[in-house]
Symmetry: C2
Subunit: 182 residues, 2 copies
DNA sequence: GTCTATACGAAGATAGAC
DNA sequence: GTCTATCTTCGTATAGAC
């Protein structure tokens, strides 16, 4: 169900996806939603962020490369698979959530704070990526900068791919990204 | 009113923004919405895309640079202003719209086709940018690739800035982007 | 735990008066 | 053209039976 919601959020956004959509898509029982997600839609979104983050981290940790170029290529491969599997229709679920959330209203809310959860997820991703770049001999400051830029480039590339109905923007972005490192 | 809607779409997404929000924010009269936007919310979104696109193109056309690095810096400056003016809260209005739209359902719709309008806008932006890069002596294929990657990087950077509540991701991304060209 | 039914509110869109 | 009022739909969330 979380998996299903992640797919829907990535292609229609958080506000654009209703509980009914998630139920219809996942086949989950309607009456038991609030047993599993007492916090309602916000909690579902929070769980989607956590689940997505874990998926990303699992991929990153399996990185076999020991060169900066190889590390970036492995990172890019994660997003390439997402684009190809969905016919260039899926974006990043986390992006689909945060774009729909009023950041300031969200920060005040005691329960939820989706923006904060997304921030933590992004920080984890760039942290691991920067660590791997450092391990190839790149200085820490540069590694963090490259990691942030890489995530930004991929998030944006996914948006462009969706709009273009094509994986070309991802490949263009990937090619240039690899030009950043020796 | 379009300007107001653009700001709201960029910070809360299309589905996350209601007509009431736009009215409250812009001070426009409630009863006359459907005089100005007979197509309803979809048409408002379409007009926001067109308006935003024109803003971006106007900025790009005013580019004073004649080096690849200068061209990219000018392009980056456009997004930097947006981030700084909003306290890192605003994303790209076009991104806020397309993320919330079901791409496939949208393509079938006769009226609207927001994804198509967004595609045209992005194509215009990268087209102008690629042209300027070519004018500095960059080969066409590379210029198009760099232009696409630059737009992707900025769109993604805006998302990261919003989540981080900081302009640092933009600056990191900008620094690396400039490393792509001599 | 899962289901059906429903309360409650919000949002898009329309009608008709001024 | 603009306003008020309203209709209809939809979505979240809850209540209570099985």
């Amino acid at each position: 169900m979380i998996c299903s919601a992640a797919a829907l959020f990535s292609s229609r956004g958080l506000s654009g996806t209703s509980f009914s959509d998630v139920i219809a898509d996942s086949g989950a029982p309607r009456g038991s939603i609030y047993h599993h997600f007492p916090g309602g839609k916000t909690q579902l979104a929070a769980d989607v962020i956590a689940w997505t983050s874990e998926q990303v981290l699992a991929h990153l940790r399996a990185c076999p490369a020991d060169t900066a170029r190889g590390v970036l290529a492995w990172f890019i491969e994660l997003w390439r698979r997402s684009v190809q599997a969905s016919g260039a229709s899926a974006g990043c679920p986390v992006a689909g959530i945060v774009v729909d959330v009023d950041r300031d209203a969200d920060a005040g809310a005691a329960a939820g704070d989706l923006t904060g959860q997304a921030r933590a997820a992004f920080a984890d991703w760039t942290g691991v990526l920067a660590g791997q770049l450092q391990a190839t001999g790149m200085p820490e400051a540069r590694a963090r900068s490259v990691a942030t830029a890489s995530l930004a480039a991929m998030e944006g590339a996914l948006i462009l791919c969706r709009v273009e109905r094509s994986s070309v923007p991802l490949e263009d972005t990937a090619r240039e990204l690899l030009n950043l490192v020796p």
